[in-house]
Symmetry: C2
Subunit: 261 residues, 2 copies
């Protein structure tokens, strides 16, 4: 049983939780909790280390045992030490180090989401969770977005990372990816006031939707890529929506139009 | 200038920020920051105390001066003390104590929102902000919701409190309010799977929408009140939406149907 915070494996977990640079350098990140680790495991991601404490519930113990039997390293950590290392307020007594893996963005995606400088990890995670529920096939992030493997993004996304390809790219790479599609999508930029109402836009053809930082607005690079500007009418006379809320309304308008073409 | 944390006015601010019980007992709450206080001031709410520090920017100073000239008590607080008292990470150097005021719920609202045990303050605030943008005319909260005057709800709602009537009620009072409307609304309960798709529902007649706690699901009282159950189809095969996201998709479907009847 690991009992010391000086243990090199525990030190690695702490670094990966705290620093996006450590994650990039080591090509690894940490997930916490039973549900997230179940999702990762079902998605075929092979943990490089699984750490649990005695308070882990039976469902979690079954998962750890399954991983151990499959040949992966599982280690018990002293209860109070795992709590101390955890990034969550109420640790379930389970975390794992997972390796980055190559993301294959589908070449013929007809529903793409592009995030432009979304820096708030909670918003980012919520957007990923919503996009996954809406059936988005490809998520592209500008390089100044929050790190998708930060603990808070992983938590708010509730496992969306393991169901949907997500890749951080330069704007040049984003453009190249979209242009190389057999049917290049119309690229819609969400704006507060400009452009057509979302209900007047047609989203039944291949569509890419750009969501920008609500404070800073759209970047020049996002505007350059854009083929259509779209806005959400707000009859309340209170013109203000959180970025994750605007994303949800737009994503589910695409779903609506495709369900009732 | 106030320099001591022992100052009774500063003690009151700390209590009102920290405890919903203190807010209820004193019938008062604290707003922080220029934008929120501007919204409250424009809505005609009379501060019982305004506290600022020397680092407040010119726009904030103009607001403070306006309040002082209108006869309200404004007091300078030492920079580091106001930072210490503040609930925000980056205090702008401005906060005010505001009195509760009576909420008049319109009797003929044709767009109501009912929150059922929404306990997360960030979610609650985001829902209020979205409801205000969507033009909701009346918001009713079950008594086990988060306190609408908690600092985090006020922050996430971005001023929605000052644009829209919001009242915490018992389920009996909620029912009575809805029944006494000249045109009692259809009452839609949002569910994960059950009921009609939101796109098949008609929201052009008077509508009340119930949003429940995403973990616990709908309460028995909410189900009793319900006339229609509605769900959001999720083609991604990942059935999970944050309560504030589900609320936004439903609220803006009402807006869509009324914009394009």
């Amino acid at each position: 049983m690991i009992t010391s915070i000086q243990n090199p494996k525990i030190q690695q977990v702490r670094e990966l939780l705290a620093h996006s640079r450590a994650r990039r350098e080591q090509g690894a990140y940490v997930v916490e909790g039973i549900r997230l680790l179940e999702e990762a495991w079902q998605a075929g991601i092979q943990p490089s280390g699984v750490f649990f404490s005695a308070d882990l519930n039976p469902r979690g113990m079954v998962l750890v045992e399954e991983m151990r039997l499959a040949g992966f390293v599982t280690e018990e950590v002293e209860f109070s030490l795992l709590k101390r290392v955890s990034d969550t307020e109420n640790s379930q007594g389970l975390l794992a180090v997972l390796p980055y893996r190559a993301v294959d963005l589908p070449l013929n995606a007809n529903f793409c989401l592009i995030l432009d400088a979304i820096r708030d990890p909670g918003n980012m995670g919520t957007i990923l969770r919503t996009a996954c529920a809406a059936g988005v096939q490809s998520v592209l992030l500008s390089s100044n977005c929050a790190d998708i493997f930060s603990p808070k993004v992983l938590r708010s996304a509730m496992g969306a990372h393991f169901h949907m390809p997500i890749a951080t790219k330069s704007w040049g790479e984003i453009q190249e990816y979209l242009n190389h599609s057999p049917e290049p999508p119309a690229i819609f930029l969400s704006d507060v006031r400009e452009g057509q109402s979302l209900w007047q836009c047609s989203f039944t053809e291949p569509t890419a939707l750009i969501i920008s930082n609500e404070g800073a607005g759209a970047s020049d690079e996002a505007r350059t890529l854009t083929t259509h500007v779209v806005h959400i009418p707000m009859p309340g006379g209170f013109e203000s929506l959180n970025a994750s809320i605007a994303a949800a309304i737009l994503l589910f308008e695409v779903v609506r139009q495709r369900a009732n073409p």
